[in-house]
């Protein structure tokens, strides 16, 4: 029986660890992002404060803390003030289910993946409130775009994780899978380091793409497209409220990377951190009194987890410097026409292979076929990107031409004149 004092200390330590991790991660990532982007674009980046400019983001935080919070007139006050907090709260809550090491977790929650998806869908409410409450056209359009984007990419995000859950049911002894992060990480260390990225590379790639879209990062950052929307739903925010949004966004990046690490990259497993060793140790002394060996093991485990998380976050930066931003309609088409069919195909193929292929070859065949699917996906993507835009028109022009042809009038658009439209006419202004 573990005594209650130990449990309270454990809880306080983990909660403090998560809070400090979210806060410091934002500062570190802002600095890393500037420095790495500068490296990739052949610039110097921040260099004045501290060695290699490493104190730059600390100064930024101080500036943000001291900055006045400006509010425009006629905002919806309660919604405007609450939006940053409602955006940030689910981010912090989501760390409840993540095991950074056997010790560094608040609970072995049985419904980890579902909770993660539920919380990431709550984030949308904060974005909506910011967009609506600001009483500004830029904010409203930005909020609308972000909401649409986050809703559309939630679906392939959830579907891309189904393959992993099916694999846990295959790996476990009794044929019952699990959606708990602790169990999934343990399943990946079952025979040896059987990281699920080896069996579900397509799942990882699609999950990561959807993660980019969920966090509003480049190339899916058109809610914040500076040249057209000022700063999207963030336009009217300043000072610490604005910083709360950015804290939430970097926290979201951290969570997306942590979930990818836990589900696909084996969680905290690595040289020196092995499940069998931990089980042997725990069964040897079940008292729950923390020893030095426990401490060293958990530090190693947390270290491997954070290494993987920061490698994934580095890819976030790399993608941002590499890829151009998508257009709004391309964004939706990518989610609905490419990602969702691909995830459904992945689920079908994985299920059939896990049931049909005889025992010793099952995992080999499943992994191999999934790699082939990944190659197919990449070929599909290059064809979709490289397809000639010749002869295609923006959707609103198509809609108008269609309306002119049928004489029905597209919904939401004024009835067009009889003559065909010139191709360069501006889009009708969106009105509130």
């Amino acid at each position: 029986m573990v005594n209650i004092g130990f449990q309270i200390v454990h809880f306080v330590i983990t909660i403090l660890f998560f809070i400090f991790l979210v806060a410091t991660n934002a500062v570190i990532m802002v600095y890393l992002e500037r420095k790495v982007m500068a490296l990739m674009q052949d610039r110097v980046g921040p260099k004045h404060y501290g060695p290699f400019g490493s104190l730059q983001s600390t100064y930024d935080v101080l500036k943000l803390l001291l900055k006045e919070i400006v509010r425009s007139r006629e905002t919806d006050n309660a919604i405007f003030m609450l939006a940053p907090m409602i955006f940030f709260a689910p981010v912090l809550t989501a760390f409840v289910m993540l095991p950074f090491s056997p010790f560094m977790t608040t609970s072995a929650l049985g419904t980890g993946i579902l909770l993660y998806v539920a919380l990431s869908s709550l984030d949308v409410i904060g974005v909506f409130m910011a967009g609506w409450g600001s009483n500004s056209k830029y904010s409203l359009i930005g909020g609308l775009r972000s909401t649409a984007q986050m809703i559309s990419y939630e679906l392939p995000l959830l579907l891309s994780l189904v393959g992993v859950v099916m694999l846990t049911s295959f790996v476990s002894h009794n044929g019952i899978g699990s959606i708990s992060f602790t169990d999934i990480i343990n399943a990946q260390m079952h025979p040896w380091w059987l990281w699920f990225v080896l069996l579900q590379p397509l799942g990882l790639i699609i999950y990561y793409t959807c993660g980019l879209a969920e966090t509003n990062r480049a190339p899916f950052d058109l809610p914040e497209a500076e040249s057209e929307l000022v700063a999207g739903y963030l336009t009217e925010y300043s000072g610490m409220q604005w910083a709360m949004f950015f804290l939430g966004e970097y926290g979201n990046m951290l969570i997306v990377s942590s979930v990818a690490t836990a589900l696909f990259l084996g969680g905290w497993s690595g040289p020196g951190a092995d499940l069998a060793f931990w089980h042997a140790h725990v069964t040897a002394n079940p008292g729950g009194i923390f020893s030095v060996a426990d401490l060293i093991f958990n530090v190693i485990a947390v270290f491997w987890f954070l290494v993987k998380v920061y490698a994934l976050q580095g890819i976030f930066i790399w993608v941002r410097t590499t890829l151009p931003r998508l257009r709004a309609d391309q964004l939706m088409q990518y989610a609905w026409l490419i990602l969702i069919p691909m995830t459904l195909l992945n689920i079908l193929v994985t299920a059939v292979l896990l049931l049909a292929v005889p025992q010793p070859y099952t995992l080999w065949v499943t992994g191999g076929v999934n790699f082939l699917l990944l190659i197919g996906y990449i070929i599909l993507l290059t064809r979709a990107i490289g397809a000639s835009p010749k002869g295609t028109l923006p959707p609103w022009v198509e809609a108008r031409k269609r309306a002119a042809r049928t004489g029905l009038g597209a919904p939401g658009l004024p009835k067009p004149p009889a003559a065909s439209l010139p191709p360069g006419e501006p889009e009708p202004a969106a009105s509130r």
Binding site: D76, A78, I79, L109, G110, T111, L114, L115, V117, A118, L119, S121, L122, V124, I125, F128, M129, G131, W132, L140, G143, L144, T147, A148, I151, I176, S178, I179, A399, R402, T406, A410, P411, S431, R432
Partner: protein, 172 residues
Amino acid sequence: MDLASIVFLVLAAILVGSALAVVTLRNIVHAALFLVLVFGAAAGIYILLNAEFIAIVQILVYAGAVTILILFAIMLTQNPNSRGSNPMNRQALIAAFIAAALCAGIIFALSQNNAISAAASQAVTQNAGTAVAIGNLLYSPTSYSYVLPFEIATLVLLVAIVGAIVIGREED
């Protein structure tokens, strides 16, 4: 009074208060946002009843999807002034009467037979809320399960989705 009942009372107060706000507030955006709070408090009560899975699905489906759809629809409407956008309910009196009658009926039914509520609470505490138990009950190929009704329900939903796409799509 133990901790669970205190938490329950707090959650119930939040739920009732925000449910009243949904009905009475004049601004429809505020009403929709209070609806999120109602669903969240309901999820909290589910967690108190050990129904972890249902609580999270409640947040995922109702708070995360249904209200977002409502908010999204509000955002797309062209209403320059959102004050007074929640149409006043002209049948408030009848609605209050029906709600009171329903409430009285539920309280009467519960007070009539303590055996039912005792059996229900016992069933709830028997680990029924976990994902594995629900999954076994829905899909298990070996033990007794509801596979066929579930599959029929999914088929109906699929038909509904395809129908919605056909209706919502612009025809050439």
